[in-house]
Amino acid sequence: MENKDIRGSKTFLEILFPYITYIGKRLLSLIPVLMIITVIIFLLINLMPGDPVMAMLDPEKTAAMTIEERNDYVETMRAFLGYDKTLVERYFIWLKDTFIDGEFGYSIRFNKPVNEFIGAYIGRSFKVNILGFIFAFMISIPVGITAAVKKNKFFDKCVTVLTIVGISLPSFFVALLLIMLFVVTLDWLPFSGMSDPRGVVPDWHYLVLPVTVIVMTSLASLTRYIRAAMIDVLQADYIRTARAKGLAEKIVIYRHAFQNALIPVVTLIGMWIPALFGGSIIVEKIFAYPGMGYLLSQAYGYKDRAILQTALLFFGLLTLLGNIFIDIGYMAVDPRIREGRVK
């Protein structure tokens, strides 16, 4: 804010320019990393045991054939699906299909192209995770800041112990305990799924438990992170200056310290990006909630290569974009980084 007059004299484009060049540079540096990731994914998928062509064939159709007929049929299918080419050729065909044509392959689990249904799964994962994300931040920010301000006092010690308990709780154990309490004993909520086929139970009832597990398992580490960031800020010189000026403690904490403690929160948001769209495999599997994580566990059961490689690529890409988001976020919120004074 101290640079208001300088910034005011710049045109909009001039302000945006460093961001654009920076984002461009980062996206370019992404390309080699992405290439390595695609190679690893492709190799792993092709190391999987089992013949992908055989898995795709309709058993009823092949059962009626003689052995020679079947071998012929398999070979024509193999050529049709492109599995007769070498590994390297197939890798480049896959790259072209994925990145240029935007075709993610044909799923044997659903008998549909992956493009047709993957969007819906991503959307459902996003719905659960954004809710969990909002609730977790709403709780952890005030708790973390209060604990930092009251460092080594009773409240802080309670928070420290509770967060250690929290980071030690496996998410599946929490999920089972919650199911035991709310589904089995109290019978308030449905066990699993996404909607009631009879239409009696409202849809949001199905969201309650997955969101609660996500909040409970992420709360502890978020709170610890925010507490540590706030403690760091409270030891800074400008906080001492603010106090020396005679400002009220409330203003020191909520105006000077709090705003700066939020800077590391950018990192947290960046780290959540993969989970936000990619979902949590364990939570979605326990509650049979059809998001990306559930899709992945289904694909594993059916050895569905198209889904597996698309999902892995998607997760990897999201992590990379999350990292870029963190860097740009720091640029946006921290003037020292924006003006290149601190790297």
């Binding site: 990393v33 994914i41 250690i164 496996p170 999920a175 089995v184 990897g316």
Partner: protein, 339 residues
């Protein structure tokens, strides 16, 4: 001279004991009640798990032995943790389940620390091109979602024997978990190598390898130990998630995650046979918590800024707080009386 200092500070020359940093860390750790609780909890659980493993190995206890006359019995004196649907005694399975967790945790952490420390030290010490190559490499590894990758890798090794899959899991865990430590070490080394003592080692003509091994690494070791403790807890948690998803070692070898996953299958087993999943779940939780408590205690103990407390100090501090509170109360009463 000593009399004067005794008068002013309450110390005499004889009281002055110089403690090595390690001794200070041990004292600080021992005086942290929470950390000591974690330490004893850890010791008890490890003791039970190791004792059970030795007992079952010596007596040749068969984990695949089934006896349907003892099917699904609730906890009793004969079967303290009840029995499962094949009539197997759950208590042995719960304690033996920890054996896999311990193995995976130790091996994976050892691997992660070795790779992380080496890579971090090399990146930090040489800087420049070496640094940027290693950092890009870290970025690649960091971009792999752990569970998704574990799915594929366990699909690749699906038909292999259980022991081999265990080593594969250790390999994945160790290989994916070193990046955080490497970043941490690199940051520390970057600032350490600018300091005078490294300049001195260069001036003395000490070999680069020895500069790193003898002078840089010992300076980051305390931090590495803390980080290793926390990644030990993380590795155990991840292993249990994997075995919960059925991607790890499978029947008849018990693991905590796999024992829990049986209950998750349907709500009947969850409600009726609670002892099958509550005991392994609690064990897993307590075990991870004890490691986290130790890690937290170590972190506080190595922090030079932390207040140096002994039991006596704590007592004195409480006494002083009490006196201060009373004084404040008295002052308040006096001021109110004055108004």
């Amino acid at each position: 001279m000593s009399e004067i200092s005794k008068d002013t500070k309450g110390f005499s020359k004889e009281d002055e004991v110089i403690l090595s940093p390690t001794q200070q860390i041990i004292i600080k750790f021992k005086c942290n009640r929470l950390a000591m609780f974690g330490f004893w909890l850890f010791a008890v659980i490890v003791g039970l798990v190791v004792a059970t493993h030795i007992y079952t190995t010596i007596t040749g206890y068969d984990f695949s032995y089934t006896d349907t006359s003892f099917k699904n019995l609730p906890p009793s004196w004969e079967h303290p943790f009840g029995t499962d649907k094949y009539g197997r005694n759950t208590i042995f399975r719960v304690f033996e389940g920890g054996w896999i967790s311990l193995q995976v945790g130790f091996l994976a952490t050892f691997m992660a620390v070795t790779i992380g420390l080496t890579m971090g030290t090399i990146a930090g010490y040489f800087g420049g091109k070496v640094d940027s190559i290693i950092m890009r490499f870290i970025e690649v590894i960091y971009s792999f979602p752990f569970l998704a990758l574990a799915y594929i890798i366990s699909a690749v090794f699906r038909d292999k024997p259980a022991e081999m899959r265990l080593f594969v899991i250790v390999g994945i865990l160790g290989f994916l978990n070193w990046t955080g430590l490497a970043r941490l070490v690199r940051g520390q080394i970057l600032s350490l190598r600018e300091q005078e003592f490294i300049l001195a080692t260069k001036a003395l003509g000490i070999k680069k390898r020895n500069q790193m091994m003898r002078h840089l690494i010992p300076n980051v070791l305390a931090m590495v130990v803390v980080s290793a403790t926390l990644s030990f807890a993380g590795a155990i948690l991840l292993e249990s998630s994997l075995s919960f998803l059925g991607l790890s070692v499978t029947e008849p070898i018990p693991t905590w995650g796999a024992l829990l996953s049986k209950a998750a299958a349907n709500s009947t087993s969850l409600r009726k046979f609670w002892w099958i999943w509550v005991f392994p779940g609690t064990m897993l939780f307590l075990f991870i918590m004890s490691i986290n408590l130790i890690g937290e205690g170590l972190r506080e103990a190595i922090d030079p800024k932390a207040i140096y407390t002994t039991k006596e100090d704590r007592k004195n501090y409480k006494k002083r707080r009490k006196a201060e509170k009373q004084a404040a109360k008295a002052a308040k009463v006096a001021s109110e009386g004055g108004v």
